[in-house]
């Protein structure tokens, strides 16, 4: 059974159709890349998948369940986690608290329990602390755990955001340009990490990326978007030779290089 089944998604803002007729099936364990020039609608698709935008047409199923009318926090509870293109860390919280927030949806003690500090509260809090530390260790951020998130260097902030998404214990992870702003060495390291967590946590990953080499290197299947339309889909090798893809990218080449 498909873990994610997005059927004919279309979204319009006023008169503008940002994404039209987008269809995506993902099986458990897939690693799919979503590429396309700036403004092609990639992040808009993420926003629809996570409940931030409501598609004008079409429906999304996750593990067989419809995501219709689900709020973003409910989508996360169902098992989809994401990162953001422009980092959205909890800047004034420590690194470890950023992770601990993500454990929120697994917490069983209620508000009363926290006020009178029941034994269950202590036990769960200790548990959360240990889990969070372990997650930081995986992402090599343990030594930063008590620093404020905003004080981390850029690359580490990117890693922290992925770690935070992982801490919600998702089945499907959506990564929005995880390697943006990283140097080639950092992004290579990141790709290894993504491959590793995918295996370790038996994840399914959908990834938006601008760095061509990164997408080609790590993804098994790629979708190319241009002006909201899916213009190609296939294995990396097929995409590389696709005429329409090359056209879409060449038209945008100038912009790409200023943005890197």
């Amino acid at each position: 059974m498909a873990i994610l089944d997005a059927q004919n998604l279309t979204i319009k803002f006023g008169g503008l159709t940002a994404v039209s007729d987008f269809t995506l099936h993902m099986e458990q364990g897939d690693l799919v890349g979503l590429i396309g020039p700036n403004g092609a609608g990639k992040t808009t698709i993420f926003n629809m998948l996570t409940g931030i935008y409501k598609p004008t047409e079409g429906e999304i199923f996750f593990g067989g369940q419809s995501l219709k009318n689900k709020k973003p926090f409910q989508v996360t509870q169902m098992g989809i986690a994401r990162t953001f293109q422009n980092l959205r860390l909890f800047n004034e919280l420590t690194v470890i608290d950023n992770i601990k927030v993500a454990h929120h949806l697994k917490v069983k003690y209620n508000v009363m329990g926290s006020i009178v500090q029941t034994p269950a509260y202590y036990v769960e809090e200790t548990d959360i602390q240990q889990k969070a530390e372990k997650m930081l260790e995986i992402f090599g951020l343990e030594y930063r755990k008590n620093e404020l998130a905003k004080n981390l260097p850029y690359g580490e902030q990117r890693r922290l955001e992925i770690a935070r998404a992982m801490a919600t214990e998702p089945q499907l992870l959506l990564l929005d340009e995880p390697a943006a702003g990283m140097n080639p060495q950092e992004s290579k390291h990141l790709m290894e990490l993504i491959r590793w967590i995918k295996k370790e946590f038996s994840l399914t990953i959908l990834l938006i990326e601008h760095h061509m080499d990164v997408v080609m290197g790590v993804c098994e299947r790629i979708l190319v978007l241009d002006y909201g339309q899916t213009i190609a889909e296939g294995a990396p090798a097929e995409i590389k030779g696709n005429k329409r893809v090359i056209e879409a990218y060449l038209g945008d080449l100038g912009e790409e290089s200023t943005d890197a």
């Binding site: 931030i52 608290d97 949806l105 006020i115 202590y122």
Partner: protein, 343 residues
């Protein structure tokens, strides 16, 4: 990696910490009532300070921890004050029950106000809360049960230092415990970035409304105490300026710092009393000091830090001094780095 601590050790450790805190609170109470018990004037100021602690910390929960602007705290205070005063003067229910019912109604009104308004952001929310508080006040001004423009006179003088001190201690205790839980972290996440918080599975509407009505509950509780201290409940006690007074406590103490709010509440209550002699200059000094504090230290006195039990232990002081020095050095370094890094 940390080894798994067993249930019993964790609980005993935390419990002993709680016992120390309870001991400190009782000790402080004993010390204050022993030192000032004979002086009715000082006891009254201390009582007022305790009430302000409740209002400052409960507002900080909304502003500083959840990041929701609220310029109408005095409105919720009014609901508690009127309810408790009406119950005391018209029915012979016990004082504590009246206070509690007043707080409960304030919390409920907080819920009603919060549900529609909390989807507004930032300044829109601020102005809407200001509007609601003003509507509450005008309602009190026009109802018979609240005594209209005359207010409720002859409210029995039931609020003493003991009531105010322990209710303030309980308020602070509850708020601190809430903040230090997963629920409190969810609130801080909302403050930092609402969209990211939602993406981490936090039901942002639920927490915003919860915190808003929790804050209103404690404001109502403090309002009940306030009415039974002044022995009169009057609409002019709950104007916009009153809300501002608590905003100032929360901001000057430091948003996101409960100990900051406690200290600011006590300090500002005493300052206000000390300036009472200079009627003409009082507000000028107060306003001037406020502007100066904000310009020199916009993050407030405590700036989001908390004074903790460990900080009171002299054995730790040397370490703090080192940390402080290191921080200053690294701050200077990063400043220099910034300048070089700019292109």
């Amino acid at each position: 990696m940390t080894e798994k601590l067993d249930r019993k050790t964790i609980i005993t450790k935390k419990m002993s910490r709680n016992l120390i805190l309870i001991g400190l609170i009782l000790g402080l109470y004993a010390l204050l009532s022993f030192s000032f018990g004979g002086n009715a004037y000082y006891m009254r100021i201390l009582t007022l300070a305790s009430i302000n602690v409740m209002l400052g910390t409960s507002l900080n929960l909304i502003l500083g921890y959840t990041g929701q602007l609220n310029l109408g705290h005095a409105g919720f205070m009014a609901v508690g004050a009127y309810t408790a005063a009406i119950l005391t003067t018209s029915y012979s229910t016990p004082f504590f029950v009246n206070l509690f019912l007043g707080a409960l109604l304030a919390g409920f009104i907080g819920l009603l106000v919060g549900l529609p308004t909390l989807r507004l952001r930032g300044d829109y929310l601020a102005i809407a809360t200001l509007g609601f508080a003003e509507i509450i006040r005008v309602t009190a001004l026009n109802l018979n049960i609240t005594g209209g423009a005359l207010g409720i006179r002859g409210v029995p003088y039931l609020t003493n230092f003991t009531w105010a001190f322990f209710l303030a201690a309980i308020t602070v205790w509850i708020i601190v415990n809430f903040i230090n839980s997963s629920h409190g972290r969810a609130c801080k996440a909302i403050r930092e970035d609402e969209i990211a918080a939602e993406a981490m599975g936090v039901n942002t509407t639920y927490y915003k409304v919860l915190v808003f009505s929790m804050g209103a509950f404690f404001a109502g509780l403090a309002g009940g105490l306030f009415g039974h201290l002044l022995t009169i409940v009057h609409p002019s006690s709950f104007t916009f300026l009153k809300s501002i007074e608590y905003l100032v406590i929360a901001v000057v103490g430091g948003l996101g710092s409960i100990t900051g709010s406690v200290m600011a509440a006590i300090f500002l209550t005493f300052l206000s009393e000390a300036l009472r002699k200079f009627t003409e200059l009082r507000m000028i000094i107060y306003a001037g000091a406020l502007v100066l504090v904000m310009l020199l230290r916009p993050q407030g006195l405590m700036g989001g830090m908390e004074l903790q039990l460990e900080h009171l232990d002299p054995r730790n002081w040397k370490g703090y001094l080192e940390n402080f020095k290191n921080r200053q050095v690294s701050k200077l370094r990063s400043k220099r780095g910034d300048r070089n890094g700019n292109t």
